[in-house]
Symmetry: C2
């Protein structure tokens, strides 16, 4: 009986004896809801992917190199929309785990061309399956129109965020 309780204190706030009034304030705005969703997604993805020896941050790499192609670290970072050091760290872990290989770029001595190993390519279908299932679970009870609406709103939000960051840099 206590087993269900042991796992995560997060999913069961409303059954507590603590006043819940604050919660509405804390999660009445989009930002914390997005943050919470992101953390939930990460946890779920981690749980789904771990059995296959992969993790959430590696997914863009798997996706971008899925057809056996090669790419520069810079391009991987840019297409995955993360900063270069973040991608460097992810690639370091993937190399450690034998998922990627680096070949020196003949046209540029600074960079190397990253590609998935056979081991990684073999995992790809399983990962895609896990993601597909996860996606279905995530939007369970949503109509296609609602999903499209959500994506649209999020894209607009992201545009605002990009703009905001850019603006503040220009002083």
């Amino acid at each position: 009986m206590a087993d269900v309780k042991r796992d995560s204190a997060i999913a069961e706030v409303d059954k507590q004896d603590v006043p819940v009034a604050d919660e509405w304030e804390l999660f009445s705005t989009p930002a914390p809801l997005i943050n919470m969703a992101s953390r939930g997604l990460m946890r779920l993805a981690e749980r789904r992917l771990k059995p296959f020896g992969a993790s959430a941050g590696q997914l863009p790499v798997f996706y971008l190199l899925r057809d056996g192609g090669a790419m520069t670290q810079r391009d991987l970072a840019r297409l995955a929309r993360i900063e270069q050091p973040s991608m460097a760290q992810t690639l370091a872990r993937m190399e450690r785990d034998g998922l990627i290989r680096r070949a020196s770029d003949p046209r540029d001595g600074r960079s190397s061309l990253i590609s998935l190993t056979k081991k990684a390519l073999a995992k790809a279908p399983a990962l895609r399956g896990a993601l597909h299932a996860g996606r279905a679970e995530l939007v369970e009870g949503f109509s296609e129109a609602e999903i499209a609406m959500l994506c649209d709103l999020l894209r607009r939000l992201n545009r605002n965020l990009d703009r905001g960051v850019a603006k503040e840099i220009a002083e």
Copy 2:
């Protein structure tokens, strides 16, 4: 001219010479959009809060203890919806920075009652101002109805996530 470029490679994908077809695939589903939004929010919040000597993860603590009250670490974690060790780490940093104080709980020898220091309480109004501004910027161009819709969709998504996690634990 290059100054605008230096800051962040993330906000300027579409002006590149790299094929963009993949990007649509990578960001056509809610999950990556949420992840991206969350990272954007974090970056923005960090930038807004740093001048005041605070950071994003501390906001729930500031909020929950804003009236000078005290609370257990456990309750802080539960109301902020993060795991206990995460809250412990946040509190450790806040203590390091002189933002919180711990008083031993007379009714329970295991826990201590956390409260904001005067220094932290003094910051609170500024933080609230920064957040208010940030929130406005975030949802710029959104109608109130759209914001409400977004929050509603996100809440449903979060429920699905909670349920998914709970389900997988029950085997």
